[in-house]
C-alpha cells in the first residue's frame, strides 16, 4: 500500500467513530463535583469547572470542627452562586442562657465567575469570592485555572484570605494600588460586602488534581491546600497540606465523597444535583381532532351551538377551558384559559388546532385570546391555512409567526361581546387541600424549627372580576414552643415578632381577602383588595400595572393602608398601622433575564428600593436574587446590615409525564428583620402578567405546534 493511501486510511479510521460516543455509555457518568463548600471544586479548593446552566446542587459536607450545608445554583453556565450554612462544632452559638448548647453557625454567600472557557490548549479560568457578604469568618478570593486532559484535570490558582493562609506571596496586587496592602476586618453585624478587602493582603498558590475512573464511577482527588479556616475562631492544627479524597457517583446527579484532610480530619460529603433548564420528560402530544365533513359543516352553519359545544368538549380534553367564543363567516374567535399548560403559545396552538378542525371551510382566521384568571392578557390571530400547514408538518413555527398577528385587546375582552359564553353559576366555589411546611432555620434555640400543617385554600367567585380568597391553616405538628428569642428591634416590629406569630397562630386564617380585577384601558390592569392579606397584615389597597404589549418594560404603582394583625391570626388587629406603597419598574432583558426595581415606603415606615434579578428558563425554572436598601442605618437594621435573599421555583411538571401548573417554590431571607419588609402580595398583577407580552410569546413560539 502506498504511503498516501495508508495515510488516507489512517486518517479516515481516526475520524470515523468506531466506538462512537462510548464516553456516554459508562454506567456512572462522572461530572465535575463540589468542593466541601458547595461550589464546583476539588476538596477545600475551588476549580474552574462549572455546572451546566439551570442547575442546582445541594451539598452536605461533614467533618470536625466544620460542617457545611450549601445550596449552589448556576443561572448561567459562567456563574455559580452558593448559599452556605457552616456549623462550627467546637464553638458555641452564644451564652448558654441565650442559646443553650447549640453550636456556632455561620451563614455566607459565595460566587464564582468564569473568565475564560477554553476549547483548545489553554485552561479554563475563573474568579471567585467566598463568604463575601457575611461575617467574613471564611472570606477568600481566588483566581483559578483548570485544564483537562481526557480523564485528568489539573488545577492551580492564587488565593487570598482564608485560601491565602499558607502565605507565600506578599501582597501580589499592591503594585496596582495601596488598597491591596491590607485586609479590613468585616463589621460585626455582617452583611457588608467588604469589597475593600477583596484580593488584598498575602496570597498563596494552591494546586490540585482530579482523575476520573469512569469504569468504576469514581473520581480521585488530590490537592495542596493553602487554607486554614479555623484560624480565626479556634485554631486547629494543620499537620499536612495535602488532602486526598475519593468521590463515588451513584448517578450523574448523586455522588458521595470521602476525604482525609490536613493530616488529621476525615470528611464525608454527599451532593445531590438537578438540572432544570429543560424538560426532559416526554409530555403528551396534542390530541388528534378529526376534521368535520361537509354534512357536519352544513349542520354547524344552520346551528352554531353545535360548533360551540364541540369546541368546548374538545378543548376540555386538552385541559383548556373556553371562556367565550364567536363564530363568524370567515373568522373564529375564542377566549381560553388553562390551569395545566404553562406555555401560553402551547395553549394557543392547541386551541387553534381544535378550532381549525371544527370550523366551516369558509373560516380563514382563527383568533385565540388568552386569559389568565379573569384577565384577557393577549391575543394571537392565526392564518388558518398557515397553521394547518404547520399541523401537517408542511410549515414551521417561524413561517406561522410571519403570518400571525400578536396583539393585546385587554380592555375589550371577548367575554364582553361574544355570542357564546359557557354557563357559569355564580357564586362559584372551589377548594383544595394539601400538607405544607413552615421553617425557621438557624435561630439560637435550634438550627431547625418547623411546622407541618394542613392547608385549605378556598375561592368564591362572585362574578368574573370579584373573588374571595381564603387560606386556613390547621396545625399537625410543630416545635415552635422552643422559640425563645423575642425581638429587640428598635423600629416597628413588622416582621421580627415572627416568633409570637408562629407560637400563637398555629391554627390560623392565613388569608381572607376580597379582590377585584379588571383592565379599564388597553394594557392597563387594575387590582383592588380588601381584607386579611397575609399572616401579619390586613387592610385595603390596590395596584395598577401598565404593561405595553410590544415593549419589554412595565410600570406599576401599588398602595395599601394596612394594620398589623394579632398574633393569633384570626380577626383581631394590633395597634400598629401604616401606609405602604411602591412605584414599580420591570424590564425583560434578552436570555430570559428579568429585573425589577420597587421604590417606596416599606411596612416599618422606612423608605428605599428593592432590586430583583431573575432568570426564568423556558422550562419555567426560575432563579432569582433580591436586595433592599432603605434609609435605615446599619445599626437600626441590625445584623446583616441590609435585607437580601434568593428564591427559586421548579415547575412540578418537570417531574411528571404530563403538563401541570404547580411550582415547588422556595425563598429565603437569611435573617427575619423589620427593615425593608414588604407585604406578601397574593395575585400581584406582575405575577399574572409578567410573561404575557409580545417578547414572551415570541420566545416560546416553537410551542405553537406542540
Amino acid at each position: 500500500m502506498r504511503f498516501s493511501q495508508l495515510l488516507f486510511v489512517s486518517l479516515f479510521s481516526l475520524s470515523y467513530p468506531c466506538f462512537g460516543s462510548i464516553e456516554d455509555y459508562y454506567p456512572k457518568k462522572i461530572e465535575p463535583s463540589p468542593s466541601n463548600y458547595g461550589e464546583t471544586g476539588i476538596l477545600e479548593l475551588p476549580n474552574a469547572k462549572f455546572m451546566n446552566s439551570g442547575s442546582m446542587r445541594f451539598t452536605f459536607s461533614s467533618s470536625y470542627p466544620n460542617e457545611y450545608t450549601s445550596l449552589t445554583a448556576s443561572p448561567f453556565s459562567w456563574l455559580e452562586a452558593t448559599y452556605k450554612y457552616t456549623e462550627i462544632k467546637n464553638n458555641l452559638y452564644g451564652p448558654a442562657a441565650y442559646s443553650g448548647n447549640q453550636t456556632a453557625k455561620d451563614k455566607s454567600f459565595d460566587v464564582k465567575i468564569r473568565l475564560f472557557n477554553s476549547e483548545s490548549y489553554l485552561p479554563d479560568l475563573a474568579i471567585g469570592l467566598r463568604d463575601f457578604a457575611g461575617t467574613g469568618a471564611f472570606s477568600s478570593e481566588y483566581l483559578v485555572a483548570t485544564k483537562s486532559f481526557y480523564n485528568l484535570h489539573l488545577t492551580t490558582g492564587l488565593g487570598w484570605g482564608v485560601l491565602g493562609s499558607a502565605g507565600g506571596i506578599k501582597k501580589p496586587l499592591s503594585y496596582l494600588s495601596d488598597r491591596f496592602d491590607t485586609r479590613i476586618k468585616s463589621s460585626d453585624l455582617g452583611g457588608d460586602f467588604n469589597a475593600g478587602s477583596w484580593f488584598a493582603g498575602e496570597a498563596s498558590v494552591f494546586a490540585g488534581m482530579e482523575y476520573d475512573l469512569k469504569r468504576h464511577g469514581l473520581k480521585f482527588k488530590l490537592e495542596y491546600d493553602t487554607t486554614e479556616p479555623d484560624k480565626k475562631i479556634l485554631s486547629v492544627p494543620v499537620n499536612n497540606r495535602f488532602n486526598i479524597g475519593l468521590n463515588y457517583f451513584l448517578s450523574e446527579n448523586l455522588n458521595l465523597g470521602l476525604s482525609y484532610e490536613r493530616g488529621n480530619q476525615f470528611r464525608f460529603t454527599v451532593a445531590l444535583k438537578g438540572e432544570f433548564s429543560k424538560d426532559t420528560l416526554k409530555k403528551p402530544l396534542p390530541k388528534n381532532v378529526v376534521k368535520i365533513n361537509r354534512d357536519q359543516q352544513e349542520r354547524i352553519l344552520r346551528d352554531n351551538s353545535i360548533f360551540y359545544r364541540s369546541l368546548n368538549k374538545s378543548l376540555q380534553d386538552e385541559k383548556i377551558f373556553i371562556q367565550a367564543a364567536e363564530l363568524e363567516t370567515n373568522k373564529v374567535s375564542l377566549s381560553v384559559g388553562s390551569s395545566s399548560l404553562r406555555s401560553l403559545t402551547r395553549v394557543a396552538g392547541r386551541s387553534a388546532r381544535i378550532a381549525s378542525a371544527l370550523s366551516p371551510e369558509a373560516v380563514e382566521e382563527i383568533e385565540v385570546r388568552l386569559m389568565n384568571g379573569s384577565l384577557e392578557v393577549n391575543s394571537i390571530a392565526f392564518s388558518r391555512n398557515e397553521i394547518e400547514e404547520g399541523f401537517s408538518y408542511k410549515s414551521s413555527p417561524q413561517e406561522i409567526f410571519t403570518k400571525s398577528v400578536l396583539s393585546s385587546k385587554s380592555n375589550a375582552p371577548l367575554v364582553n361581546t361574544s355570542s357564546f359564553l359557557p354557563t357559569i353559576e355564580f357564586p362559584e366555589f372551589t377548594w383544595t387541600m394539601s400538607p405544607a411546611l413552615k421553617h425557621q432555620i438557624g435561630g439560637p434555640e435550634a438550627f431547625y424549627l418547623g411546622q407541618l400543617w394542613w392547608r385549605t385554600d378556598t375561592t368564591i367567585k362572585f362574578s368574573r372580576n370579584i373573588s374571595l380568597y381564603t387560606t386556613f391553616g390547621l396545625d399537625i405538628y410543630n416545635n415552635f414552643n422552643e422559640l425563645n428569642n423575642p425581638s429587640s428591634s428598635s423600629i416597628p416590629h413588622v416582621r421580627s415578632d415572627i416568633q409570637e406569630y408562629l407560637k400563637e397562630g398555629k391554627n390560623n386564617i392565613q388569608r381572607m381577602k376580597l379582590e377585584y380585577m379588571s383592565s379599564p384601558l388597553k394594557d392597563v390592569f387594575f387590582r383592588a383588595d380588601l381584607g386579611l392579606f397575609e399572616e401579619m397584615f390586613g387592610g385595603i389597597g390596590g395596584e395598577i400595572l401598565y404593561r405595553p404589549f410590544n415593549k419589554r418594560w412595565s410600570l406599576g404603582l401599588s398602595m395599601h393602608k394596612v394594620r398589623q394583625r394579632e398574633y393569633k391570626q384570626l380577626f383581631g388587629f394590633r395597634d400598629y398601622e401604616t401606609n405602604t406603597g411602591f412605584l414599580e419598574m420591570y424590564y425583560d432583558f434578552p436570555n430570559e433575564v428579568s429585573a425589577s426595581i420597587l421604590a417606596g415606603k416599606y411596612l416599618a415606615g422606612d423608605k428605599g428600593a428593592t432590586i430583583d434579578l431573575s432568570r426564568r428558563f423556558k422550562s419555567g425554572f426560575t432563579l432569582g436574587i433580591f436586595a433592599t436598601l432603605t434609609n435605615l442605618s446599619k445599626e437600626e437594621f441590625g445584623e446583616g446590615s441590609f435585607d437580601k435573599g434568593f428564591y427559586f421555583g421548579i415547575p412540578t411538571e418537570l417531574f411528571y409525564t404530563d403538563y401541570r401548573s404547580g411550582t415547588i417554590a422556595f425563598g429565603l431571607h437569611p435573617l427575619t428583620k423589620d427593615g425593608g419588609a414588604m407585604m406578601n402580595q397574593h395575585n400581584s398583577l406582575y405575577s399574572i402578567l409578567g410573561d404575557t407580552n409580545y417578547h414572551s410569546l415570541k420566545s416560546k413560539w416553537k410551542d405553537i405546534l406542540d
Binding site: 466506538f19 462512537g20 454506567p27 468504576h216 387541600m433 417531574f655
Partner: protein
C-alpha cells in the same frame, strides 16, 4: 441517651403523621381536591418500591383483542400492552399506545424506537436463543447518543425446566440465562429467556442498553 430517645419519639411522631396523611388521603378524600401532586408522587414512589401488576390486563381483555399481543414492562414502570403491528422476515414489530416500537427476532429484542436511548442495530453470531451452553458475541448500535457496534460477550447456559406463571396460566418452560458484559464500560447484566420445547420465547428479561433498565416481556397472544 435521653436526648436520643426524645429525638426518636419526635421522629416517630412525624413519620406517623406523614403516614396517616398519605394513607388517609389516598383512601378517603377526593384526590382532585387534595393537591393531586401528592397522590401521584405517592403512587410513583410506591410503584418504585412495591412493584405492582396492571390490574386491567386480564386474559379476557387479551382474548377480545384480535391481534397478537404481549405485556411489556420497562424497569420499574407499569406493565403495558403492546400489539404486533407486522411480521417481516422473522422480525416482529410491536407497538405501544404511546408510540414506542419494539422489534423482536426469535424472542430477542433487536431494535427499539421512541425511547430516550434506542437500539438501532443488533448483530449476532447466534440468531436463536439456544438451549445449549454457548459463548458468542453480539454487536449493538445505539442512537441518542450514537454508539456503533458495542461488542458484548455472551455466556449462555440452560438452567432446565421450571413452572412459569403466564397470564394464560401456569406452563412448564425451559429457562436460559445469558450473562452479558462489556469490560471497557464495565457493563454486566443477565438476560433470561423462558422457551417452550419448540424454541418459542414466551417470557424474557432483557438488558439491551447500559442506559436503559431491564425490559420484561411476556407474550400474551402469539402470532399465528
Amino acid at each position: 441517651m435521653e436526648r436520643y430517645f426524645r429525638l426518636e419519639i419526635k421522629l416517630e411522631k412525624i413519620l406517623l403523621t406523614s403516614l396517616i396523611i398519605f394513607l388517609f388521603s389516598c383512601s378517603e378524600i377526593n384526590k382532585q381536591r387534595i393537591s393531586p401532586a401528592y397522590f401521584e408522587a405517592y403512587e410513583a414512589v410506591s410503584r418504585y418500591f412495591f412493584q405492582t401488576d396492571n390490574e386491567l390486563l386480564t386474559q379476557e381483555v387479551i382474548e377480545n383483542i384480535p391481534y397478537a399481543s404481549a405485556i411489556l414492562k420497562i424497569g420499574r414502570g407499569k406493565p403495558g400492552l403492546i400489539i404486533l403491528e407486522k411480521k417481516i422476515d422473522n422480525k416482529e414489530y410491536w407497538i405501544s399506545a404511546d408510540g414506542v416500537y419494539i422489534v423482536t427476532k426469535n424472542g430477542r429484542i433487536v431494535q427499539t424506537q421512541g425511547l430516550n436511548n434506542n437500539l438501532k442495530f443488533f448483530k449476532t453470531n447466534n440468531d436463536k436463543v439456544s438451549l445449549e451452553a454457548i459463548n458468542y458475541k453480539n454487536y449493538l448500535t445505539y442512537d441518542q447518543p450514537t454508539l456503533f457496534d458495542l461488542p458484548i460477550e455472551v455466556h449462555a447456559k440452560p438452567l432446565g425446566q421450571e413452572k412459569v406463571n403466564l397470564l394464560k396460566g401456569e406452563t412448564s418452560l425451559f429457562l436460559v440465562e445469558e450473562e452479558i458484559n462489556n469490560y471497557k464500560i464495565n457493563w454486566y447484566a443477565i438476560n433470561r429467556f423462558w422457551l417452550d420445547k419448540d424454541g418459542y420465547v414466551w417470557k424474557s428479561e432483557q438488558n439491551i442498553s447500559p442506559k436503559l433498565p431491564t425490559f420484561y416481556m411476556e407474550i400474551t397472544k402469539p402470532y399465528k
